[in-house]
């Protein structure tokens, strides 16, 4: 008897429980996103809450919606993260690698200060009072872009300008959004010519404010009229592909070096480091 009663009890419990589950499975099921179920399959189902969501289901829903990162489940660890990525195809296929590039060379030595800035040390905040440089288009130098970069791909150089580590940059565009002066843009990594200025000021004013400003002299336009134009006192590359490589030396005659080859810039960065 001592042996039988527990066996019977346990079997009965198991039986009842499974009946309950079958019932629940059949009658109480609610329609839901099949992807959520797929994710649920992969997740550990511990419902421990370690992910910060209220259980695996909500976490799964968040992943499917794209609110939660695939590696957000500390219990599952890397295995689960990889499976999730595989299942949901979260990794977007990159066709052309794009990287962030900074359109300003208003270094601390080149760009003139306007006043003594006193206040919150972020670009956006200083932008609100006009910025502490005379050029009202250039980099403010407080590194909002550095702050937001999730990949540690942008850092503040010694010259007070942000520099991009193009190998680390994923082209997510966070820095582009963060810059209140819109001087960061995403470019095809292969494009090797860049205009390092955004100033729409007239030549003399721009020149007064920053030694490296585009003064709209038109030398580059003359070198390559089909690819470069002047617009609002600023040179603009309209058709990058139409720049023949042999014209580059002519373009580089720019008196303020506001347009030039990116690799030279990169080499300078490495020297900086």
């Amino acid at each position: 008897m001592d042996v039988l009663i527990p066996i019977i009890t346990m079997s009965a419990l198991g039986f009842l429980f499974s009946l309950g589950l079958v019932f629940a499975y059949k009658k109480l099921r609610v329609q839901e996103d099949p992807r959520v179920l797929l994710v649920m399959e992969i997740l550990p189902q511990v419902n421990c809450g370690a992910c910060g969501y209220s259980g695996c289901r909500t976490f799964a829903e968040a992943i499917v919606k794209g609110d939660a990162p695939a590696n957000g489940c500390p219990v599952g660890g890397e295995e689960v993260a990889h499976q999730l990525v595989k299942t949901l195809g979260l990794e977007a296929v990159e066709v052309i690698k794009k990287v962030a590039r900074v359109h300003c060379r208003g270094t601390t030595s080149a760009a003139k200060e306007s006043g003594l800035y006193r206040g919150i040390f972020t670009c956006y905040a200083s932008h609100l009072v006009g910025g502490q440089k005379q050029c009202s288009y250039g980099c403010l130098g407080f590194g909002d872009c550095v702050e937001v970069c999730p990949f540690d791909a942008i850092y503040m150089g010694e010259e007070g300008l942000p520099l991009v580590r193009e190998d680390k940059c994923t082209g997510c565009g966070k820095c582009v959004d963060a810059c209140p002066r819109n001087i960061i843009e995403l470019h095809n990594i292969k494009q090797n010519i860049l205009i390092f200025c955004r100033s729409l000021d007239r030549g003399p004013t721009a020149r007064k404010a920053c030694k490296n400003a585009c003064i709209a002299c038109g030398i580059c336009v003359r070198a390559c009229p089909e690819a470069i134009v002047l617009e609002n006192n600023l040179a603009k590359i309209v058709h990058y592909k139409k720049i023949p490589q042999d014209k580059i030396p002519d373009i580089e005659k720019c008196p303020t070096k506001a347009i030039g080859l990116i690799h030279k810039e990169k080499k300078k960065q490495e020297d900086d480091r």
Partner: protein, 325 residues
């Protein structure tokens, strides 16, 4: 234009009041001085050593954390660490071994303040965290009292007025300390809490410097008096009078100097009022029904935990806002 001649660029407003954080902090320190002097008078060198140990340790701990977090050591001069050290020492029994006081001061600054990010960010009153730590770590040492020098008795152990009330049934026995002694400080107890007079003198200075919110001490004292008064009216032979409760133990120092800590009290007027009333009621509850004779420290810490919620749910009405009913 010469670069050194540049105008300042800043966001409005361009006017600022003269008051500053260090000024407020030093006002608090000055206001504590009467009570410190009173305790030096009552407990002599024991008090001096404890004050020195706590303040110096607090400063050193603060400095270590600042170095660790690679922050400027300038913050040491804002006076907040000195206040923590002083307040902690003032809540310790005079006979406490100095090494215990040192541990308390380390804990007060470390887990009471710096782990939250330093000045202004802590949830709990650092001095009280230090004291609560000591109370729990060294319960015996923290509840052993010596009589003040002015009471020329020589017993190894000695009870505080509240201890008498709790464990000796002092009301029925008629051995309750006279209110006069409570007022001047001629009783056993923590260093800084004994002399109500000295504390009140300091508090007046704080009011003058507008460094504390009047709602907090008033709220605490009123709610405690109402709470204990109710029981006193029901049975004056069992319960002590409300005035006794206000003057005894750490209530005055708690209400004027601890609960009013700006960092750990609510910022909204309504929240502040609820906070103060809550402390008073909790003090009464713990003193009358709890296991400890004194409940000021626990009450303030408990209400500290509720401060974020109070702030959250007592947002003032914005001009023009129509609240849903």
């Amino acid at each position: 234009m010469m670069p050194n001649n540049l105008f300042i660029l800043q966001s409005s407003p361009h006017f600022k009041d003269k008051d500053s954080v260090p000024k407020i902090m030093y006002a608090v320190i000055i206001s504590l001085m009467p009570a410190v002097l009173a305790s030096l008078y009552f407990f002599r060198f024991k008090a001096l050593f404890l004050y020195l140990a706590c303040v110096i340790t607090a400063l050193i701990t603060e400095a270590l954390f600042l170095l660790l977090r690679k922050k400027s050591l300038d913050s040491l001069s804002d006076g907040s660490a000195i206040i923590t050290g002083l307040l902690l020492a003032m809540t310790l029994p005079p006979s406490l071994p100095v090494e215990h006081a040192v541990i308390g001061a380390v804990m007060a600054i470390a887990i009471g303040k710096q782990v939250f990010g330093g000045l202004g960010q802590n949830i709990f009153n650092p001095a009280l965290v230090g004291r609560a730590f000591l109370q729990t770590a060294f319960p015996v040492a923290m509840t052993t009292w010596i009589p003040p020098i002015t009471q020329k008795i020589n017993t190894a152990t000695f009870a505080t007025p509240l201890g008498n009330l709790k464990f000796q049934d002092a009301v029925a026995q008629g051995t309750l300390s006279p209110l006069k002694d409570l007022f001047f400080g001629n009783i056993g107890g923590c260093l800084g809490e004994t002399s109500a007079l000295a504390l009140l003198v300091g508090a007046c200075y704080l009011f003058y410097k507008r460094a504390i919110d009047w709602r907090i001490p008033v709220g605490i004292i009123c709610s405690l008096m109402v709470f204990t008064g109710m029981f006193w009216l029901i049975n004056p032979n069992k319960y002590a009078s409300p005035l006794f409760h206000v003057l005894a133990g750490g209530l005055i120092i708690g209400a004027f100097f601890m609960a009013t800590d700006m960092v750990t009290s609510p910022v909204t007027p309504l929240g502040t009022t609820i906070y103060a009333l809550g402390i008073g009621v909790l003090v009464g509850t713990i003193r009358l029904f709890g296991g400890f004779p004194e409940g000021v420290m626990y009450s303030i810490l408990l209400m500290n935990t509720a401060v974020p919620l109070l702030n959250q749910f007592t947002r003032p009405r914005i001009l023009g806002e129509r609240r849903k009913k």
